[in-house]
């Protein structure tokens, strides 16, 4: 139970048969971005990317069943071929509308293959967001330790 609560963030690690520079370009170049964004039944037909720290991006994925879905955010950290941090929110009336999330992606290249670690978590209002950058991971580490301890006590 505790583990499930601590896990209200998303972590997806995946290794691709490509150098980090290519993976980075797939996120930063709108022409590449449009070719893969969205699951199989969607196509990404619009993508405007202002790729600089503080710059915004805005894109749309479309499917016959789910219609047009716009999303966007702001780039917060850019470290070429290594690390990318941006906000992500849906601009529609869906159940996740208005919930701003923070996406952190890191790339680790090894022998021509690259492991992409993708992390996404919800976060507080705009005013409190800045105080979270930096303090966020250590807070999670503390929580993880606390949850682990409780789980141990709980199952002992």
């Amino acid at each position: 139970m505790s583990a499930r609560i601590a896990d209200d963030e998303l972590l997806i690690t995946r290794t691709f048969d490509a150098p980090a520079s290519l993976l980075f370009a797939l996120w930063s170049n709108p022409e590449h971005f449009k070719r893969w964004m969205g699951p199989g039944d969607f196509s990404c037909t619009e993508a405007e990317i202002n790729f600089r720290v503080g710059g915004t991006y805005r894109a749309m994925i479309r499917s016959a069943e789910h219609g047009d879905n716009w999303f966007g955010g702001i780039y917060r950290e850019i470290l070429a071929n290594k690390r990318l941090v941006f906000t992500f929110a849906w601009n529609n009336d869906g159940p996740s509308a208005g919930v701003e999330t923070l996406v952190t992606i890191t790339f680790q290249e090894h022998n021509g293959k690259t492991t992409q670690t993708f992390h996404q978590s919800p976060f507080l209002s705009v005013e409190r967001r800045d105080s979270h950058v930096g303090g966020w991971s250590s807070a999670f580490d503390k929580l993880a330790a606390y949850a682990a301890q409780i789980t141990k006590e709980f199952t002992a």
Binding site: M1, S2, R4, I5, A6, D7, D8, L10, I12, R14, F16, D17, A18, L22, L26, H32, R35, W36, M37, G38, P39, G40, F42, P95, S96, A97, G98, V99, T101, Q116, F118, Q120, S121, P122, F123, L124, S125, W136, A139, F140, K142, L143, Y146, A147, I150, E153, F154
Partner: protein
């Protein structure tokens, strides 16, 4: 839904929920592991309560807090949706990379001729 998520976005509130997963607790017990005041903990509890993540007992003096697992269900659904979205996108990323590599090979062959 967005209310539940913003309630969960705070690390202290998440730790409070983790504690309640181990059993009901009073405000004092919940405050103990944190370096924050009782009123601050009470404020966190109010947020959790209005988000439907916890409920509080009627006993005016103790009002023990209880985890409301129903409230967490919506968070699970939210996560599942995002997981499908990204996993599906990364599948396409994989195919697109294969496509780019094919293209590169074709171009190399062309250049050699």
């Amino acid at each position: 839904m967005s209310f539940t998520l913003s309630a969960l976005a705070d690390p202290t509130r998440r730790a409070i929920l983790a504690r309640l997963a181990a059993g009901d607790a009073t405000v004092n017990e919940l405050a103990e592991p944190f370096d924050i005041s009782l009123p601050a903990v009470s404020r966190h509890l109010k947020v959790l309560e209005s988000a439907g993540l916890i409920s509080r007992g009627r006993d005016a003096q103790w009002r023990p807090c209880k985890l409301n697992t129903e409230g967490l269900k919506s968070v699970d659904d939210w996560l599942a949706r995002y997981r499908r979205f990204w996993t599906g996108s990364f599948d396409r990323m994989d195919s697109y990379i294969a496509e780019l590599k094919e293209q590169e090979k074709r171009d190399e062959r062309k250049n050699r001729r």
